[in-house]
């Protein structure tokens, strides 16, 4: 590809980004990358040359971990990054338009192989793989298999991952360069079958060991156990250390939780993104308020199938004041009803706000609701 074509593509894409941000008041993170790739299909590859690139992927925690790595690496200079979770290939292309020696990008699970091939990253951090958007992913194992081929065909990239997740461990087994991390083990909803050999896997106190040898014991780095925010912050530090950044002050884990506060009249709402069984369970375990609103939608990015809400225990909501809403709020309301958790079902988020009228509330919101209400 000629550099003239790339330069032309960059001008068009940058202009579109400026128009999108100033005139249309949109974040302008997708359109420029889309145009860029349309005009210069190998733009991402071209823009990746001679740059140090870190990619972050996994079912949960991509956005906050990417942000944390970018924060930790700030002393090293300008960093190109995908700030608001625009993580498809075109989002990566938009982020890479910024001139910088370093880039930290979050990448969607299914787009990761393509982005790894195009960017030839120095490091890829793999966080976790759990049930999510099965209408699109089909099976957790299917995503893991794609990743496994990806790591096998990226000999110069170092893959860093949390092997308490057996799917991540299975993927890393194929890597040429790798760093494995364990937090001492934790249960995995799809961990009954070994992703490597297909045999039934023995678990004991969150640790597994398969007949084929796949196990989370003997990791390169062993850390103490903790919640997802803590784990993601520690994984970000492992990456930062690779760049010589050490001894940084401890992270504010509340920031890692990706909690966003917003006022709606006299109601002060603290939002968390909940999009699959793992992120719901994490958010329910970390509830701070007794006044809760739950929002369930089922658009494409939320997952158009809501069956997974039955994989979550909502027992933590018992005795709290719970309002349920969202386009598929009724699915959630019925699920709580069967579990014996009292909740009020309302049609819109405005009605949920009206119900509480004033004071602090906590909102657990589906992806599209989270982005629609607070981003």
């Amino acid at each position: 590809m000629s550099s003239i074509r790339l330069r032309f593509a960059l001008i068009v894409a940058s202009t579109a980004g400026i128009i999108s941000r100033t005139l249309l008041r949109r974040p302008g993170e997708t359109l420029p990358g889309r145009l860029l790739l349309l005009i210069a299909p190998d733009a991402l590859k071209q823009l990746s040359k001679n740059r140090r690139i870190i990619l972050v992927s996994g079912t949960n925690g991509k956005t906050s971990t990417t942000r944390e790595i970018a924060t930790l690496l700030r002393p090293l200079g300008r960093i190109a990054t995908s700030p608001s979770g625009s993580n498809l290939t075109r989002g990566s292309a938009t982020a890479m338009m910024k001139r910088s020696a370093l880039a930290v990008l979050e990448v969607d699970e299914l787009h990761l192989p393509e982005v790894v091939a195009a960017t030839n990253p120095e490091y890829v951090l793999l966080l976790n793989l759990t049930r999510d958007q099965l209408h699109r992913m089909h099976e957790v194992k299917r995503v893991a298999d794609r990743w496994r081929s990806m790591v096998e065909s990226a000999p110069t990239t170092e893959f860093i991952g949390d092997i308490d997740d057996p799917f991540i461990n299975y993927v890393l087994q194929g890597a040429h360069k790798l760093t494995t991390i364990s937090f001492g083990g934790r249960a995995h909803q799809d961990g009954a079958v070994c992703p490597q050999c297909g045999r039934y896997m023995e678990w004991s106190a969150g640790n597994y060991s398969s007949d084929c040898g796949l196990t989370n014991s003997g990791a390169d780095i062993t850390l103490s156990a903790g919640n997802a925010s803590y784990r993601n912050s520690e994984l970000a530090r492992v990456v930062a250390k690779k760049f010589g950044i050490d001894d940084v002050p401890s992270t504010d884990l509340h920031l890692m939780e990706r909690r966003v506060s917003k006022k709606f009249g006299a109601v002060n709402a603290s939002f968390r993104l909940t999009k699959n069984p793992a992120s719901w369970s994490e958010a329910l375990a970390g509830l701070r308020s007794n006044r809760i609103t739950l929002i369930l939608n089922a658009r494409e990015v939320d997952g158009i199938d809501t069956s997974w809400i039955w994989d979550i225990s909502f027992a933590a909501l018992a005795g709290k004041e719970v309002v349920v809403t969202g386009e598929r709020g009724i699915d959630l309301a019925y699920r709580l009803h069967v579990e014996g958790v009292k909740a009020v079902l309302v049609t819109t988020f405005d009605e949920a706000i009206a119900y509480f009228a004033e004071g602090e509330i906590e909102v657990l919101a589906a992806y599209t609701a989270f982005h629609g209400l607070v981003m």
Partner: protein, 232 residues
């Protein structure tokens, strides 16, 4: 003699639980208890011996490797004999394929447990999306969500569970599932019993051995009716 206690056996949920399948047993127990029928949900894992005294057995959806493991364990148990003795069975998606004579997993043909004369072949595509069927066993249309890669060919003497209105079911044949006696197989998850209380009550009535008292659960009715309207 009608039963006043039910044992609901959730089979290999750690393997056959990919699509919120545990919800089906929760709904059965909930609707039984609402009628004063005591109902216990018993979780039987891959390593456990399968009880032969259950009233309702449930098999759910699975990824390929898990489906094969579950089939092996069922073949080593008295499961087929227990169901042939008249216990109620709800088999969904991968669980539905298991009870036939054969299915495909990871590209290989695998023998099922042969409870029903039907085989599942690789589909021409993956069948994903909302599904609505009309079943002669229920007055209202039944809705759910399907996500599978197999097409199921029923033997000559086997009735489908219903006619497909929207979606795929057993593939491109226009029907979904299979019914023989107290055995109900279908591709609908959702979970199906949460979305279709009438079907949940049918299974309970079969297990108890008599018609159930009415249970006016407004939220359940509204949920079922909203899904019927939404899935066109």
């Amino acid at each position: 003699m009608p039963k006043s206690e039910l044992s609901i056996v959730r089979v290999h949920n750690e393997l056959l639980g990919t699509y919120g399948d545990r919800g089906n047993s929760d709904v059965l127990a909930f609707r039984a208890q609402a009628r004063g029928i005591s109902a216990d949900v018993v979780d039987i894992s891959y390593r456990d011996a399968l009880p032969t005294t259950g009233d309702i057995y449930l098999l759910g959806g699975a990824e390929d490797a898990a489906q094969v493991l579950s089939t092996d364990a069922l073949n080593r148990s008295l499961f087929a004999a227990t169901i042939e003795n008249g216990a109620v069975l709800l088999a969904i998606c991968a669980g539905f394929q298991i009870i036939g004579t054969s299915y495909y997993a990871q590209g290989n043909r695998v023998d099922g447990i042969g409870l029903l004369d039907m085989e599942t072949l690789p589909g021409d595509r993956r069948y994903v999306g909302d599904i609505k069927i009309h079943s002669p066993w229920c007055e209202s249309d039944i809705t759910g969500f399907e996500n599978h890669g197999g097409k199921t060919i029923l033997g000559r003497d086997i009735s489908p569970f219903g006619e497909v209105i929207t979606g795929f079911g057993n593939g491109e044949s226009g029907v979904d599932g299979a019914v023989v006696g107290n055995i109900f197989g279908t591709y609908l998850h959702g979970p199906i019993l949460a979305r279709n209380p009438e079907f949940a009550d049918l299974l309970l009535a079969r297990a108890v051995g008599k018609a159930l008292e009415p249970f006016d659960d407004e939220l359940a009715k509204r949920y079922a009716s909203e899904r019927r309207k939404a899935v066109r």
